[in-house]
């Protein structure tokens, strides 16, 4: 059994209203020095040992992320 993490973020050119809203809230919270926030998705997968990187890449590329608007990274942890 292995644990795999897939992080999905919007491509830089796509507007991220949720990240923007957080930046906006920071001021009200009295937090300074955070200049940008982007929000994405984080997936933690339990996979059998036999599952190879290609399978996970395919999974990320077809299901977990929408390549039209999102990029992803894969980490085994």
């Amino acid at each position: 059994m292995a644990r795999v993490v897939v992080d999905v973020v919007l491509k830089p050119e796509i507007l991220d209203p949720q990240g923007q809203a957080i930046v906006g809230a920071l001021g009200r919270l009295g937090v300074h020095g955070v200049t940008d926030v982007r929000q994405g998705k984080h997936f933690e997968l339990q996979v059998d040992d036999g599952v190879d990187d290609d399978t996970i890449t395919k999974l990320a590329d077809t299901l977990l992320a929408n390549p039209v608007i999102e990029n992803f990274t894969i980490r085994r942890v």
Partner: protein
């Protein structure tokens, strides 16, 4: 014989009844299609209705795309079958790559339900021929992730080829790029629309009957 329009039900579809009713009010016959059934049962057109297929938990339309019925829809669309995706159905069409671009979280980050004015910009599709060029209509909009996005090139291409079917007027309700409310594929048989024409087919329960044209267009074209 009247036109037979399939209305797909995915787990979590909500507006399938309303879509079927709109089809009937337009004088066509509605045929229920089940997500797990790969047959389209010889229908003349397909509506992918609104709702929250599979809860829309991952991304709207992302999981519905893999339903057996969608394989058939994708194949038939390539052969010219008229397909209308409304709201969640539009999202499914984008996820299935039948239409370019994607729909993301509304810029104000809230679900929005209201009566929305649109301008019909392409009246030559299978679903919009009943409208006049540039006709303004009011139909409900209701979505949390209705912001249409695509890269600049795609957007330019859509504009250049008249593939923007409908545009928001009097205010953009969700941050859609270039106020886009609906688009079509190159052939014009596949249309995706964020607002809900099927909720505007009876004056009693909607803002009016402006939505009926989508369903009448289909009945007319198919009959012709």
């Amino acid at each position: 014989m009247s036109v037979r329009v399939g209305v797909v039900t995915f787990p979590g579809s909500l507006d399938d009844r309303d879509a079927a009713r709109a089809v009937r009010i337009a004088g066509a016959e509605s045929v229920s299609l089940w997500h797990g059934d790969p047959s389209l049962h010889d229908v003349d057109a397909v509506v992918l209705p609104g709702g929250f297929s599979y809860g829309d938990y991952l991304r709207c339309g992302a999981i519905a795309r893999f339903a057996p019925v969608m394989e058939a829809v994708v194949a038939a669309a390539a052969d010219g079958l008229p397909v209308l995706g409304i709201c969640n159905g539009f999202q499914v069409l984008c996820e299935s790559h039948l239409l370019p671009g994607a729909l993301i979280r509304n810029d104000h980050r809230k679900f929005v339900c209201k009566e929305q004015a649109l301008r019909i910009e392409n009246t030559s599709t299978r679903w919009t021929s009943e409208y006049r060029e540039s006709q303004e209509i009011v139909i409900p909009i209701k979505n949390g992730e209705g912001g249409y996005v695509a890269d600049e090139r795609t957007l330019d291409e859509l504009e250049a080829n008249g593939r923007v079917v409908a545009r928001y007027v009097d205010g953009n309700p969700n941050g859609s790029y270039r106020d886009i409310a609906g688009i079509c594929n190159e052939a014009g048989n596949v249309v995706g629309l964020m607002p809900h024409p099927e909720h505007a087919v009876e004056a009693l329960t909607g803002p009016g009957t402006d939505g009926l044209g989508f369903f009448l267009s289909l009945a007319g074209v198919a009959a012709a």
